[in-house]
C-alpha cells in the first residue's frame, strides 16, 4: 500500500529458573538501538511460553538467555515447539554460559548463534542482521 515498512522483530526470553536478566536486558537495549523491534518477555519463561510468544508476535528471531546450565533440555524443547507451531523459519540465538562441548549439538539442533560472556553486542547485531536478510 502506501509505504511498506519492514522491521526485524526479535523476542528476547529468559528461559528456565535463573533470575539473572542483566545480560538479556543489555542485548535487548542494543538491538533496539540498532533499529530492531524487541519484545522482552521477562523472567522464568517455559519453552511453551516462549514458543507461544514467538507465534503471537510473529518474530523472525528468538534470543534465549540461559544461565542455569539447563540449555541441553530447554533448547530442544523450544526448537520442537516452534516447529509444531509452524514457526520453523525462526532463527534461534543463544546467550549465557554454554560449555564449548555442547555447541556442536546445539548447532545441529538449528541454533544460529551462541554467545558467551564478553561478547560485543555489535557482533550479535551483525549476526542477526545477516540471518534476517
Amino acid at each position: 500500500m502506501v509505504n511498506p515498512q519492514k522491521k526485524i522483530r526479535v523476542l528476547i526470553a529468559k528461559a528456565g529458573l535463573d533470575g539473572h536478566d542483566r545480560g538479556a536486558k543489555v542485548v535487548a537495549r542494543a538491538l533496539r538501538d540498532a533499529g530492531m523491534e524487541v519484545i522482552y518477555t521477562g523472567l522464568r519463561q517455559t519453552p511453551e511460553m516462549i514458543a507461544e510468544a514467538a507465534l503471537q508476535e510473529d518474530v523472525q528471531v528468538v534470543g534465549l538467555s540461559i544461565l542455569s546450565g539447563a540449555h541441553m533440555t530447554l533448547v530442544p524443547k523450544v526448537v520442537d515447539l516452534l516447529q509444531n507451531a509452524g514457526m520453523e523459519n525462526v532463527k534461534l540465538f543463544l546467550g549465557g554460559i554454554i560449555p564449548d562441548e555442547d555447541k556442536p549439538e546445539l548447532e545441529k539442533l538449528g541454533v544460529t548463534g551462541i554467545y558467551g560472556p564478553g561478547t560485543s553486542t555489535q557482533n550479535i547485531i551483525e549476526d542477526i542482521q545477516k540471518a534476517c536478510q
Binding site: M1, V2, N3, P4, Q5, K6, K7, A28, R29, L31, R32, D33, A34, G35, M36, E37, V38, I39, Y40, T41, G42, E48, M49, E52, A53, L55, Q56, E57, D58, A85, G86, M87
Partner: protein, 339 residues
Amino acid sequence: MPVTNPQAVIRGERLAVTRALTQVENNSREGYKLLEELFPHTGRAHLIGVTGAPGTGKSTLVNQLAYAYRHSVEGNSPPRIAVVAVDPTSPFSGGALLGDRVRMVDLAGDPGVFVRSMASRGSLGGLAGTTAGLVQVFDAAGFEIIIIETVGAGQAEVDIASLAHTTIVVEAPGLGDDIQTIKAGILEIADILVVNKSDKPGADHTLRALRNMLALAHPLPEDVQHHGTLSTAAPADIEPETGWTPPVLATTATTGEGFQELIAAIEEHRDYLKSAGEWQIREEKRLKNELEVLLRDALRAHWEEKIAPETYQETLGKVIRRQITPWRAVDILLEGARL
C-alpha cells in the same frame, strides 16, 4: 511473503492470524489485499481502549482484565480476547523495546487469548498507524473482545477514543493535584476512570479529585439533609449532556481487586451504547476517522512520488536561509507536485 489465506484468518487459525497481523502492520500490498477480504467480517467485536500515563499500571491492568474475563464469567463460555499493546518507537534509531508482555504472564497458555505487541513506528497520538488494521484482523478472526493498550500517554494522546467503543483511562495515586483533573485532554475521553494501585497511599485523594471533576461536568442528583428529612435535589440549572456518567473505580491490578466491578462497568457501558444508539454513532465516527487517516497518508505518499527531491531541498534551503516563510514554502511544494 505469500498472501495469507483469509479463510484461515476468519477460522481463527493462529499462524494465519499472526501472519496477517504482520502483513497489515508492515503496510504491505498483501496486507492491503487481506483487509479487503476481511473487512466484511468485521464490526462484531467490542473494542476496549486502555490509556493513561506511563507507570500507572496499564499492562498489569490489561493482564488482570483479560484474565478476569476468561475466568469469572460463569455459565456460558468466556469470550475470546485479543490484546494489542502499543509501545513507543525510538525517534533516533527506529527501534523499539516492547515490554508489555512482561506483565501479561497470567495469559500465557490460554488458547482463548492472543497478545500482540506493536511499536508506534513514528505515529503520534498514542497508537501506531496500523493499529486500526490489526484490530480489523482480530475482529474478523472472531475475537469478541479486543483490548487496545496505548503507549504511556501524556495529556493529549487521545486517538484511542476514536478507535475504541469503551475507553478506560487509568490513573494512579500521587500524579498531580486537582488542577490536572480539569485540564482538557485525556480525562475527557474516559468512558470509565480507574484509579489503579488503589492500595497505595493517596488513592482516596485521587478518587475524590476525579469524582469532583466529574461532578462539575456531569451534575448528579444529590442526597441532601433538609430540616432533618432526606430528599433528593437535582441540579436544576444544568442539563446533563449525555446519558452516560463515567464511573470512577478503584483497582489493584497486582491482586485482582476491583476487576469484577470493572467488567460490570464495561458491560454496562456497552449496553448503554447499544440502547442509546451511541454504538452506531461511534462505529460511524470510527470508520470516518480511519478513512481520513488513510486518505491523509495516501495523499502524502502521492505527493512524495510527484515532488522532485531537488525542489524539496531547494525550498527547504530557502526557508532555512529565511528567504521565504514556511507557509510560502508549502504553497510552492504543493504547486511543484501538481497533484
